[in-house]
């Protein structure tokens, strides 16, 4: 019973507007702390890698960006599915808000990967499974955003883009397992595997901190964009009056 109350309250735009605002300062604070320690630990405290020397320090910005590129996409797809199945407007608003942020992390994952690939592999780009599937993810995001932009009617944009987002989610396991399924220049998993992580603590803790910090940063940006989406969708609902400063 309590679960359903909670679920129903999440469908209420004023409630979601309020809680997303209440979370924001805490998200901002912990984002700064975790990314701060992650980058300091990664750039200063961690010793150089025995093979890659100081170039490995790109991992503290590359791996969390790649993680967020996938987490944000799953967020879009799950929210879009909830929106389609339960006809929940707030869920569609979450999907629409998460997509541009996810696209920016995907772009960063590709860019920092390229900057890491050049000194380590001797090339900026190669058409291997991991890199290609991540590039497809960027195109999925851009397709999703373009499709939304093509509709004047918001409800139709929600439905059409939701179908695209849900179909595209098949790409996520392909990205994750690409380094296992195909021969790849890209190194295997460091953290996300069943065996113990293949890194000493001095390298690993900053990476985990950075992963958590990026996740919180995504949540914070999502809260701000979600508030904007909710205002646009609520049109002239009276609860908006004091919030937007209308007389």
């Amino acid at each position: 019973m309590a679960t359903w109350t909670w679920f129903h309250r999440l469908a209420s735009p004023p409630h979601v507007y309020r809680i997303s605002g209440a979370f924001l300062p805490w998200l901002a604070l912990f984002t700064a702390l975790f990314i701060g320690y992650g980058f300091y630990g990664g750039l200063v405290l961690a010793p150089p890698d025995y093979q890659q020397k100081d170039a490995f320090r790109i991992i503290y910005v590359h791996a969390p960006s790649a993680w967020l590129s996938m987490l944000a996409y799953v967020t879009v797809a799950v929210a879009a599915a909830v929106g389609l199945i339960w006809r929940m407007k707030v869920a569609h608003a979450v999907a629409a808000s998460a997509a541009p942020i996810g696209a920016s992390f995907t772009f960063l994952a590709l860019l920092t990967g390229s900057l890491w690939g050049k000194p380590m592999w001797g090339t900026w780009w190669t058409w291997d499974a991991r890199l290609t599937s991540e590039l497809i993810l960027l195109f999925l995001y851009l397709g999703y955003l373009a499709l939304r932009g093509a509709f004047d009617d918001r409800a139709r944009a929600d439905q059409a883009s939701a179908v695209l987002a849900i179909v595209g989610v098949v790409n996520i396991p392909i990205i994750h397992f690409s380094v296992v399924w195909w021969n790849s220049l890209h190194q295997g998993s460091t953290v996300m595997k069943l065996a113990r992580p293949s890194m000493p603590g001095s390298m690993l803790w900053p990476l985990l901190s950075s992963l958590l910090g990026f996740t919180l940063l995504f949540a914070a940006l999502l809260c701000v964009r979600l508030r904007a989406e909710i205002i646009d969708r609520e049109r002239t609902a009276s609860w908006l009056r004091p919030i937007v400063g209308a007389a």
């Binding site: 170039a55 320090r57 701000v224 508030r227």
Partner: protein, 63 residues
């Protein structure tokens, strides 16, 4: 293991790659922040205009 500032900045010869990665992150995240805050500000302004035009329409009907 204490490194000088110059050594730190040199990143063992990988400075261009390491620092452009972190620089790109800063630029993209600032753009993200500006984009999100800008979207919120614009949405509020649009809603305020909707309320104001609705109010003036009501006034027109009454007179």
């Amino acid at each position: 293991m204490e490194r000088s500032v110059a050594d730190f900045l040199a990143m063992g010869g990988y400075a261009p790659y390491v620092w452009s990665s972190y620089g790109a992150w800063c630029v993209v995240m600032l753009a993200n922040l500006a984009g999100a805050l800008g979207a919120l500000k614009a949405a509020k302004a649009r809603a305020r205009r909707r309320f104001e035009s609705a109010a003036s329409d009501d006034g027109g009907e009454r007179s």
